[in-house]
């Protein structure tokens, strides 16, 4: 050990943490979110001279400022959460389903199709049941097509599911042109097939459905044999095969569930809020849901908070854009900054940064 001087410890050294106490992880996350918010508000401050405190006030005002906005925020959160729940089983299985956008859209299309052709020929409750059924089947088919090809011929599911999105969008454009041959391709608000308002709150029904779905998904993933199989297939396909899990069956079954949930999300969007369809009806939720799902480590209960955070950021910063005459791209910027911090803080949760011991401390160590 005569060459001791040559082995110099670097100033910063990174080591993997074997584990971290839960509260430490939460503190790191909280600091990250706070830092994200701060940087976001600094950007806004630079653009508008609006003091950071006012930025926070505007954020809250845009999302919870009035009773209506609160309900709208909750509805948006519920829809994002619903799609996130839908993609979760697939991603936990490491099946890269980026086709949720399309699966939700065909679910919505199926629901609108039922409304357009059935109208008030049957009671509303029966129409709603038929709508749910068709949406679930449509979403399922849209997810099962790539799943089948994956299971049978091991095709690339990322590309396949992505392309299915575009087919879904074109299908919607085509159907609108069939229904509205003579306008600027806008299907007017439909009068039938509305979810009933509970306690006079029109979004409450769909919010409750999503709450129930979250709990069910939590139980399904955590406690059932299916949930376990999904986890094993996701960790290692070979292990799964070794312990006698029929991998193809699990892939198809999981994607069927994923697609069905996307279908339900599509149904809720149509019957609970939109009552019409455009090719942008899902509005990117199919992609945002992937971030929500991963960020929450596939835990449905954490997903609820992540969805709320994202909706809060998006809606809140649109309000800032509106109040201070900014382009509403600011909402994407702020959301992006905060998400960056949240995802970045994973590093500090998984790894420890060691600062070089001072020389004195090093001597004492010896």
């Amino acid at each position: 050990m005569t060459d001791n001087k040559k082995i110099r410890e670097p100033l910063l050294r990174i080591t993997k943490r074997p584990s971290i106490v839960w509260w430490k992880a939460w503190i790191i996350l909280a600091v990250a979110i706070l830092a994200g918010f701060l940087l976001g508000s600094l950007v806004i401050y630079a653009l508008t001279d609006c003091a950071p405190v006012k930025v926070f006030k505007s954020l809250f005002d845009g999302t919870f400022g009035t009773e209506r906005r609160t309900w709208f925020t909750l509805q948006q959160t519920a829809m994002l959460l619903c799609v996130s729940l839908a993609v979760t089983p697939a991603f936990k299985m490491r099946f890269w389903n980026i086709g949720a956008e399309g699966q939700v859209l065909v679910g919505a299309l199926a629901a609108v199709t039922c409304i357009v052709y059935i109208e008030d020929m049957i009671p509303n409750w029966l129409l709603l049941i038929i709508m749910v059924g068709s949406s679930v089947i449509a979403g399922m088919i849209w997810a099962l097509i790539p799943a089948f090809f994956k299971a049978k011929w091991n095709t690339n599911e990322t590309l396949f599911t992505l392309m299915m999105n575009y087919i879904a969008m074109q299908l919607v454009s085509f159907m609108i042109m069939v229904w509205v041959p003579n306008g600027s391709s806008v299907l007017p608000t439909q009068e039938f097939g509305w979810l009933p308002a509970i306690l006079d709150k029109k979004y409450l029904f769909s919010i409750l459905v999503v709450v129930v779905l979250s709990v069910l998904m939590y139980i399904y993933l955590k406690t059932t044999k299916h949930g376990y199989e999904i986890a094993v297939v996701g960790e290692s396909e070979n292990t799964a095969k070794y312990i006698g899990i029929n991998v193809k069956k699990v892939i198809l079954r999981t994607l069927a569930i994923s697609g069905a949930l996307c279908g339900i999300a599509g149904f809720l969007i149509v019957a609970g809020a939109e009552h019409t369809i455009t090719k942008d009806t899902v509005g990117g939720n199919g992609f945002t849901a992937i971030i929500v799902s991963w960020m929450s480590k596939f835990n449905p209960l954490i997903m609820a908070f992540s969805s709320l955070l994202i909706v809060f950021l998006q809606e809140g910063s649109s309000r800032i854009a509106e109040t201070y005459s900014l382009s509403d791209s600011i909402s994407d910027i702020v959301t992006g900054i905060v998400l960056f911090f949240i995802i970045g803080c994973e590093f500090f949760i998984n790894y420890k940064v060691n600062v070089r011991h001072s020389v004195k401390a090093a001597k004492e160590d010896k």
């Binding site: 009035t66 209506r68 906005r69 709208f72 199709t113 039922c114 052709y117 059935i118 109208e119 020929m121 038929i130 059924g133 068709s134 089947i137 399922m140 088919i141 099962l144 454009s173 042109m177 041959p181 003579n182 306008g183 600027s184 391709s185 806008v186 007017p188 608000t189 193809k248 069956k249 198809l252 079954r253 069927a256 809020a273 939109e274 009552h275 019409t276 455009t278 942008d280 009806t281 509005g283 649109s318 854009a321 509106e322 109040t323 201070y324 005459s325 382009s327 509403d328």
Partner: protein, 426 residues
């Protein structure tokens, strides 16, 4: 697994069958109950300029604008510019004039309107055709707030006191810029660049419906009034704003031998494609001279400031806003942007001035039925779909006294004859 698949397949087929039955059932019950609906609102055709009444107390006045896209769209920018102008004229603050941009034609539009109403807006203005049904929903919920909607068709039949439509007789503007285009074609023929038969104009349209059809027909009639041998070819993009599609459509038309392009879609796609190939272009909503200095000829535009002045005046005075309002050349709602002398043929400005005079004193009519034919025959009667219904049932004759009376019964255009002789679809 096969079991699951076969069950799924069976269910899917069953669902398809249900839908098929349902659609059969629908056919039988369709009938013309739209005859029961009549135009019961008041329709105003503006004939004089409107001034902002600055003496009125506007301290607690608020107006909110709901826009389909943002300032990158020429269509929406046109509304924003008008809004900012009246804001300045009336001396309103940032808090009194609010914008929500990129609001799709969906439930978001309703929520945006409701949110504005919660903010205490007195007037809420929406700019896109597809916003209408969502705005009507909000109008029913907030009877004390005035909802104004550009390009819509339903205010006169909705039976709501607080829901209003507006448009302008932009066909006059398009006719005038058509004259500039026709003069340019004549110049090309005289120079020997093209023969008289090759004088073909290309038109990039957004959607195949009355507003667009009326626009290109009036443009074509303007072209024809000075260049009788001209023909026109139309391509639709099925989108209001798609830079790539509009560019591609313009290129297709030029490949097909079109020597001049105009468009009714909201991006810079077509003007830039024309600039790249040195083909003259007639634009809409904004002057494109800065983006296409050597090919931009002229643009027609609707100036929304007269309408905005009118509704703000009315609201501040506590007067009623008409259900439907149609601006015109005379009310300065229809304007032409600067003529690009670099591109324009000699004498264009004078020819346009003469036509403006003629349109104002009534000696020139745009849709003069003696000036065009449909299937080789002059138009003697045309039942248009003036009263909006889901089935687009034609309901009202709009031809008489030698003219097709556009924007008279309703501000939004209803000229949807596809096509008059000389125009074809690609």
């Amino acid at each position: 697994m096969k079991k699951i698949l076969s069950v799924l397949l069976a269910v899917a087929m069953l669902a398809a069958l249900c839908c098929a039955f349902a659609s059969c059932g629908k056919k039988t019950e369709e009938g013309g109950d739209s005859a029961a609906v009549t135009l019961n609102g008041d329709m105003v055709k503006a004939t004089a300029p409107v001034e902002a009444d600055k003496t009125l107390d506007k301290s607690d006045f608020k107006i909110g604008f709901i826009l389909l896209h943002d300032e990158n769209s020429t269509y929406d920018k046109n509304f924003m510019d008008a809004a900012l102008k009246v804001k300045e004229e009336f001396g309103l603050t940032d808090e009194q004039v609010m914008f929500k941009t990129n609001i799709p034609e969906s439930n978001d539009c309703y929520e945006a309107a409701a949110s504005f109403a919660d903010d205490g807006c007195d007037i809420i203005f929406a700019d896109s055709f597809g916003h209408e049904s969502h705005i009507i929903r909000a109008a029913k919920e907030f009877p004390e707030v005035q909802f104004c909607h550009a390009t819509g068709t339903q205010a006169q039949i909705a039976g709501l006191d607080n829901f209003h439509n507006a448009f302008a007789s932009i066909y006059e503007g398009r006719y005038l810029v058509g004259i500039a285009a026709g003069m340019k074609l004549n110049e090309m023929i005289e120079n020997g660049d093209i023969t008289a038969e090759q004088a073909k104009v290309g038109y990039v349209g957004a959607f195949n419906y009355a507003e667009v059809v009326s626009g290109f027909t009036s443009f074509f009639l303007g072209v024809r009034s000075v260049c009788p041998s001209a023909t026109m070819e139309v391509v639709y993009t099925n989108s209001w704003f798609d830079i790539a599609l509009e560019k591609e459509a313009a290129n297709t038309l030029m490949d097909n031998g079109c020597v001049l392009i105009s468009q009714h879609a909201d991006s810079e796609g077509a003007p830039k494609a024309c600039e790249a190939r040195n083909v003259p272009n007639v634009a809409y909503n904004i002057s494109t001279i800065s983006m296409a200095p050597t090919t931009a000829l002229i643009s027609s535009k609707i100036d929304w400031t007269p309408y905005l002045r009118m509704i703000i005046n009315a609201e501040l005075k506590g007067e009623k806003i008409p259900s439907d309002w149609c601006g015109s050349l005379a009310s300065e709602s229809v304007l032409l942007t600067e003529l690009n002398e670099v591109v324009a043929a000699e004498g264009t400005a004078e020819a346009i001035d003469a036509a403006i005079k003629g349109l104002k004193d009534g000696s020139v009519k745009v849709f003069d039925t003696t000036k065009f034919t449909v299937d080789g025959k002059p138009l003697e009667e045309y039942i248009a779909d003036v009263i909006t219904d889901d089935a687009f049932t034609p309901d009202t004759n709009v031809v008489g006294n030698g003219i097709f009376d556009e924007s008279a019964k309703r501000s939004a255009p209803y000229f949807d004859i596809k096509y008059i002789d000389g125009i074809s679809e690609k």
